[in-house]
């Protein structure tokens, strides 16, 4: 359950507030603040609630109009999770988000009618420090298939199992199958070859090499499809992914002139861009979970940025 005033929303002005009124309507414990002129003065109104505030939501207009807002917010409420909300036609470039270490971006798609449930659900997840679960965006009763990898040789069989679960005719279904196969490929490669690290952070395995999982290694691939939404998740027990590094990868690959063949994190960038929403949960040294979902009839422009949630939990996660 939410506590009182656990979430603050900062709007740029009254028009901005009207723009987001409905999308945030279902969030309990909400403190609405409209920044009128002075940012420091507006942020001071948060100080009495610093003990309970867990999440600060910044509208894209607030963020672009006040470049120091993230830094100032953290001065008042250290450890607060910052969620940037944007319309799909005005989503911000990632470089400033990387610089400000803003790890949560929610893009409200007007083409999809704007999801009224999306923000309350995601804010609840952040307030309660809950990880994203593969079944959370699927219809109730949808089967979630999970496979624990023993060898890299199983990769193609797992991709075939995913494709087999996406039965159906038509261009949209064919596109979903191809996207699903690529996402599974990237998730599995990432877990098998990028996650395993030595004591000095060095990669233990070369991309594409045949390998068996180590005795204590646990890589689990899960997916579910409810006829409209495909959700995928890959969990490894290395916990070697650095959330700040993920943001850097996404920002670097987003640059239009990025044609370097050795750009790091291209796989994560592809995963982000092919999913409708992208989730990463890291417990350093213990576990990394990467996944998200995509719609069969997604009207999102493949070229436009997607929402992401990159969380780091020092202790074991709730679920």
């Amino acid at each position: 359950m939410f506590q009182m005033q656990t979430v603050a929303v900062l709007y740029a002005d009254e028009n901005d507030r009207k723009l987001w009124d409905q999308a945030v309507a279902g969030i309990p414990g909400l403190l609405n603040i409209t920044v009128k002129g002075s940012l420091p003065a507006s942020l001071e109104t948060l100080r009495p609630f610093r003990g309970t505030l867990r999440v600060a939501i910044l509208s894209a207009a607030t963020y672009s109009g006040h470049p120091k807002v993230a830094e100032r917010l953290r001065e008042i409420c250290p450890g607060i999770e910052i969620l940037l909300i944007s319309r799909d036609d005005s989503s911000p470039p990632l470089k400033p988000l990387f610089a400000d270490d803003i790890r949560h971006l929610a893009i409200d798609s007007q083409q999809q009618g704007g999801s009224r449930e999306y923000l309350p659900v995601v804010v609840s997840m952040l307030v309660e420090r809950r990880p994203w679960e593969v079944g959370s965006c699927l219809k109730e009763g949808t089967a979630v298939h999970s496979y624990q990898l023993v060898s890299s040789e199983e990769k193609e069989a797992l991709i075939c199992a995913l494709e087999a679960a996406l039965q159906g005719e038509g261009e949209e279904m064919e596109m979903l199958r191809q996207k699903g196969a690529l996402l599974a490929d990237e998730l599995l490669e990432n877990a098998m070859y990028d996650a395993p690290r030595g004591a000095h952070g060095n990669r233990l395995f070369r991309k594409g090499e045949r390998r068996s999982m180590l005795p204590q290694e646990r890589i689990v691939f899960s997916f579910g499809f409810d006829g409209e939404t495909l959700a995928l998740k890959l969990t490894d027990n290395w916990g070697s992914l650095d959330p700040h590094e993920v943001l850097e990868y996404l920002a670097r690959n987003e640059e239009c002139d990025c044609i370097a063949d050795d750009t790091g994190g291209r796989g994560l960038f592809i995963i982000w861009r092919f999913l409708d929403r992208f989730h990463i949960d890291v417990q350093p040294g213990r576990q990394t979970a990467v996944g998200g979902h995509l719609q069969l009839c997604s009207s999102l422009d493949p070229e436009s940025p997607r929402g992401f949630h990159i969380s780091q939990h020092e202790k074991e996660m709730a679920a």
Binding site: M175, Q178, K179, A181, L182, D185, E186, E189, K207, G208, N253, C256, D257, C258, I259, A260, D261, D262, T263, R266, G267, F269, I270, R273, P302, E303
Partner: protein, 109 residues
């Protein structure tokens, strides 16, 4: 797996190299793609992707490396791209090195 095929006869008159890529393009395509630039003899190179399947991030890295080497001596055209290939190439900068051809006529123009 990837491999080349002989250029279709009608295209040889336009003095270009023609490569057909087959199957999945990933880390296992490295030696094949590394060897392609050395095979280029003409100022125009066409890559046919109509028989190519999934291309992952490692495959993209290898294609970018291959295309960069070829670009030093020839123009690159891409044929037979699926919507998935096009989306992927657009978002990863492949089209900055190689242009998509709508059909064979554009390649030979």
């Amino acid at each position: 797996m990837s491999k080349t095929s002989d250029a279709p006869k009608e295209m040889n008159q336009f003095q270009h190299d023609y490569f057909v890529l087959l199957g999945t393009i990933d880390a296992h395509s490295e030696s094949f793609l590394k060897g392609l630039p050395a095979q280029v003899r003409h100022p125009l190179v066409t890559f046919d992707f109509s028989k190519a399947g999934r291309i992952n991030s490692m495959g993209i890295a290898l294609l970018l490396r291959c295309f960069k080497d070829i670009r030093a001596k020839a123009e690159i055209r891409l044929e037979g791209l699926s919507p998935m290939h096009s989306t992927l190439f657009k978002m990863t900068g492949v089209f900055l090195l190689a242009s998509p051809a709508k059909d064979g006529k554009e390649v030979s123009a």
